[in-house]
Subunit: 366 residues, 2 copies
């Protein structure tokens, strides 16, 4: 990001929270939603951070597609599980509470699973998985999403980038935090490339002819118009290098996060009228918590995670590779850096945030 200035995380969190408050979201829900967005920006996942405030959240609240004060309710519950209907509210607050509930159940029975339906975009999957770390649990977070990915041998996007997030606590080392789209690359990376006028690597997406394309504008336009082509599942175009595995993982996430709670699935998740007008979304999420101490003494587990991380880090490297990473390490280091120096905002995002603030009569301190 060349043309960017840096803004303290707290300033952005205050702004986001105020924006949601002005749009009739409760104090608690506004706080949670702002924290999820700013956490994404801190971790360098800008495609899921404050830059998406309007597109994914305030537009929906203002149009009524997202309910500011939803009737969130528990539909089914057992000792180890629950199903929550989010009442078409914001995805973040219900997800936060669902993960808390999964952890409470795990504390009592060793493992908890809570699923959510009738929800909206919940931000970064990793946020909820990482909540488990504070309670010395392993956290799991999955969601379905708008369709961007072409199943193997198909030529139309029919599945979301359906992320998998799993976090496990370490001792002296940083926690393991996997947070990955099940596509080759997240859609946000293609959006960034398009906005910068850059090509994307061949292998990320196909065009309307079914061939690999390096033109993000063309790929994204096709997806938006429900024309052939789209992002590729992890493993790529064919079965040769395992594209069917990425597709299979995406479908696994769809079943666990959307079919299990009874949310809409695949191309029905963000429905539209015949005229192309958006209707309310019905996304689903899956949250799991596993209590480490139900299996092993916590210290022994953490020492083993440390040991695994260190042995991996010390593995001989290919020529020119500076280091071997553990999932979550880059994002953790980015967050440490951004907490000190601020979150970089490109000119477009900064202007957009200030416009939202102005529209809602909120003062901005940056």
């Amino acid at each position: 990001m060349s043309q960017s200035r840096r803004v303290p995380a707290e300033s952005l969190k205050t702004l986001c929270k105020e924006v949601f408050r002005q749009l009739a979201v409760s104090e608690e829900d506004a706080r949670i939603t702002a924290d999820v967005l700013v956490t994404a920006s801190l971790r360098g996942v800008d495609s899921h951070g404050v830059a998406r405030l309007r597109r994914y959240y305030t537009d929906g609240l203002q149009s009524g597609m997202i309910v500011a004060q939803p009737n969130e309710r528990i539909v089914a519950e057992t000792a180890g599980t629950a199903l929550i209907d989010a009442g078409a509210g914001l995805g973040m607050p219900v997800s936060y509470r669902a993960m808390q509930m999964a952890m409470a159940k795990a504390d009592a029975t060793g493992v908890g699973v809570v699923t959510v339906r009738n929800s909206n975009h919940y931000g970064i999957a990793g946020y909820y998985a990482m909540m488990a770390l504070e309670q010395d649990m392993i956290g799991i977070s999955l969601t379905n999403a708008d369709v961007n990915v072409v199943p193997t041998f198909a030529n139309l996007a029919m599945i979301g980038t359906n992320p998998i997030a799993v976090a496990a606590p370490a001792g002296e080392e940083r926690a393991f935090v996997l947070d990955m789209a099940t596509s080759v690359a997240a859609v946000g990376k293609s959006i960034v490339a398009r906005d910068r006028g850059q090509p994307i690597p061949k292998g990320w997406a196909t065009d309307e002819t079914g061939a690999l394309s390096d033109d993000p504008a063309r790929v994204l336009q096709n997806i938006a118009k429900r024309q052939p082509g789209g992002m590729l599942p992890l493993g790529g175009l064919s079965e040769l290098l395992g594209g069917h595995k990425g597709y299979g993982l995406g479908l696994m996430v769809e079943i666990l996060s959307a079919v299990l709670p009874g949310a809409a699935s695949l191309d029905e998740t963000y429905p539209k009228t015949a005229d192309g007008e958006s209707l309310p979304a019905d996304l689903g999420h899956f949250f799991g918590a596993i209590k480490v101490a139900a299996f092993r003494p916590l210290d022994a587990f953490k020492a083993s995670v440390d040991d695994v991380i260190r042995r991996l880090r010390q593995t001989p490297r290919v020529d020119g590779a500076p280091r071997i990473y553990i999932a979550g390490e880059k994002e953790h280091e980015e967050a440490e850096q951004r907490r000190k120096t601020g979150i970089p905002l490109d000119a477009k995002t900064e202007a957009d945030l200030k416009r939202i603030a102005e529209e809602l009569d909120i003062s901005v301190d940056f």
Copy 2:
């Protein structure tokens, strides 16, 4: 398989069971182990089927590396979880019982997780995940394995092909059964290519220089000798096409299946003496069961899975693609076929099975 003859599944199951009985394995454990092996062969996963009887199982039982009548015991237990020590026995019987236990817990609390340590090769991961289908549950099965895969930027195999298996019941359609190595391709496929003198696709593995290799003999020899190079994680060589995601998934499986139960991990899973002699393995497994009816009425869930499968199947295809598959569909069709026509055995496998039978004084009906 050109030079192969077909043998009824029941004949192979009887033979395998008799072999294990002769090696002092209990009636029940012999039955389970034979069923897992023959199920793999039926589903076309020959690399994990009867062809591996000697290499993975009878050699170990005869040398005492695998204990025929292990002291299998529950080390820790809560309402929703358990940890089992397999007593260095065969991987299949303890895994079968662990999955049964996970399902019993899920029946009571909605979700169950049982992990296993001090175990051996458990065959196909999907077998245990599929056990959940009979009880209308979603099944999960993970295991660590001998190191074959190079972490992203590393030049030495430090992680197994660590499979992920997840099965979910359908209604009129066939169940969803994902059963995938987290590497680009399973090691077994490289072994088959080597034995046939064929190259492997560039993108599956690296040689000792860190470059992509199409020579399976070279790659497999390097792995066996702990020389640089190895199989690549799903997504391939670099971060460009998501290799770090496959590596992250493999490490996730390592943490859940080996670190959580306290099994050995990474390159310590199959330890050797300084002279290169094998010591007993200490593998770990993870089994999860989720009771569908704890979330939604079962019929509604199954109808939704059917609907998802049908919509995917009807998606427009790329030119020349005959159909769109659902995970597990190919294996299911292969099993239907092989149940009728028998399991194809190549000459080497047939001779090896007959030699094992002869050594153990077992008569063979094929």
